[in-house]
Symmetry: C2
Subunit: 168 residues, 2 copies
DNA sequence: CTTGGAATGTCAACAAAGCTGACGTATTGT
DNA sequence: ACAATACGTCAGCTTTGTTGACATTCCAAG
């Protein structure tokens, strides 16, 4: 493993060793499993998948969002999103209404049923997140968020920042 | 971060509000995309996928590991892993040798070619992780790891801890 | 020693969810 | 009038997960 910074590194750079970075990578991998585990269990019972969860989550966050906007947030193709969206609309979890200003657009909202599922899913996911936050403490949480934000692609971070500001 | 000066709840619990938890959830979602983006690009060129990356990573970490052991680390079915493993073996990236003590087992090692790909992938992933770590600083990194560890399932954390101790 | 069950790994077939490409329709804006 | 945009859909392919069936190997009870 050829690594540039070998000899006289300051103590403060210890966290940049390949070993430390590898641990971070593995932590990210294993933690993401836990992160999705609880919603996945709920979704499996209702024969939905993670893709449905993501759509529901962001429609809840941005009620009235258009298909195109959702597309760029989720980073998938419209064909892929459409399949998921179609089943959610058929099952009555999502309402799609023609735009008033621009009739080409479809505005997406959660129905009562959709909102109920959203709550069930995010409650489960928040419970785990809350437990992790509580165990780690406020300082750790601040660091957690900082590192995650620094890890995003620039374009992705743009979406994240936009969502972030929406409710504060 | 212009937040948190208003609510009437104890300052120390501010990080446990639903709003904060939701931000953490979205940060996790968006950051994971960045986390896998660079390896994904490399893998796509060679017509491999994320599953191949994971197998290669953990075979590199635990040379001589058995299929069963790899299975429990990755958390997939043996049939799913087998498909990935078969192409890696056919392509000469992984060597599978029959166990000496127990001939039912197969011991897995990376070949030279396999090790080369592993280096390419983990270099790319480490580069991004390093940039994120550097931007966030050592204290944030410690918090990042703490929260991730607290987020894991118990069984998963067991695997993580085992890997962690392996090289320190 | 034999034999039946458990463990390990392989093959086959199917499902979820991503992708590309092509095309149709309605609407907008130049 | 016409090009561009937003959306939906069909067809087909890939990756990666799943279950079910099966071969091989080991071990322990009879």
């Amino acid at each position: 493993m050829p690594e540039g910074s070998s000899p006289p590194m300051g103590q403060s750079l210890l966290f940049l060793t390949d070993e430390q970075l590898r641990k971070g990578i593995e932590a990210m991998f294993f933690a993401y499993r836990g992160f999705t585990a609880d919603p996945d269990r709920i979704l499996a019972q209702k024969s939905y998948g993670r893709a449905h969860h993501r759509a529901i989550h962001f429609i809840h966050r941005s009620p009235g969002t258009t298909v195109n906007n959702l597309l760029s947030i989720l980073g998938v193709t419209k064909q892929s999103l459409n399949r998921v969206l179609r089943t959610l609309i058929e099952d009555g979890l999502v309402a799609s209404t023609v735009g008033t200003r621009d009739k080409r657009e479809r505005h997406l909202h959660l129905t009562e049923t959709g909102a109920a599922l959203e709550r069930e899913l995010s409650d489960a996911q928040r419970d785990r997140m809350r437990a992790a936050y509580r165990a780690a403490g406020p300082a750790a949480v601040a660091g957690f968020r900082q590192v995650l934000e620094a890890m995003m692609d620039d374009e992705t971070r743009h979406h994240y920042e936009a969502m972030k500001e929406k409710t504060e």
